[in-house]
């Protein structure tokens, strides 16, 4: 899909009702327009989940195929872009599950430790800058991304869906086929683990 590049602003905002009519009528040009409009953004989403270019491309092909087949079931309540985003996440997560899995790394070593009296075993110290200030820098964003990639898979995917793709807890649970409680627990631990991984870099500034 390399030939499909970003469109001009005017082309990015076609009349959605007209496009939807075309899709429902199985008009090939409407499908082509749908792919052109959304494939670049959806490829980024699939890459974030799969961290592999070939898998990501296969996932969005699967997603568009699902969309083409399922357009009759699209009720038009959500925007097409939102509907496609969810289908893409689902396709990417299915591919992730189907991969040969390595033994999952335990997350426990990355969680905060406590003394018997409940105090922090390794007391937290302030960072030199606020998280907001740190995230303004490109190198910080790259570091955060690398640290997210180091999280155990089950925790990385929850953090990705909740904090990067901005899904709510219920939808994250549905996509991952786990309970809402499991999503909350994994998100809590994922954020704690991410903080642990970032802490040595930011206590003394960017390293």
């Amino acid at each position: 899909m390399e030939e499909m590049t970003a469109r001009s602003p005017a082309e990015e905002a076609p009349d959605e009702a007209v496009l939807l009519d075309g899709l429902r009528a199985q008009d090939p040009l409407a499908f082509e327009q749908l792919v052109r409009l959304h494939c670049t953004r959806l490829l980024v989403v699939a890459r974030n989940v799969l961290r592999n270019e070939e898998d990501a491309r296969e996932a969005i092909q699967d997603a568009f195929l699902s969309a083409f087949k399922g357009i009759g079931a699209f009720d038009g309540v959500a925007r097409l872009s939102t509907w496609l985003h969810r289908i893409t996440l689902n396709a990417a997560l299915m591919k992730l599950r189907s991969r040969q899995r390595h033994a999952e790394q335990p997350i426990d070593p990355l969680l905060p430790g406590f003394l018997d009296d409940g105090h922090q075993a390794d007391p937290a110290a302030p960072w030199q800058e606020s998280a907001a200030q740190l995230l303004e820098r490109r190198e910080t964003c790259d570091l955060v991304r690398r640290c997210i990639d180091r999280l155990p898979e089950a925790y990385r995917t929850v953090l990705l869906l909740r904090d990067i793709e901005e899904l709510d807890t219920e939808e994250t649970a549905r996509l991952l086929e786990v309970s809402v409680g499991v999503v909350k627990t994994r998100l809590r631990r994922a954020r704690q683990a991410l903080r642990t991984l970032l802490d040595p870099h930011f206590r003394g500034g960017i390293s």
């Binding site: 905060p112 409940g118 922090q120 960072w127």
Partner: protein, 44 residues
């Protein structure tokens, strides 16, 4: 409230999901524990 409980329920505290009494207990812990202030600031 111990540091353990504060950190365990920090997400709920930040999301405003604690009961008024629990919220007040967490505020009281923050007022006396610089370690948990630092943890919360770096968690966000």
């Amino acid at each position: 409230v111990t540091c353990r409980k504060f950190i365990e329920f920090l997400m709920e505290y930040l999301n405003g999901e604690l009961s008024p009494q629990e919220h007040a207990e967490f505020e009281a812990h923050l007022a006396e524990c610089p370690w948990c202030v630092a943890y919360m600031q770096t968690y966000q």
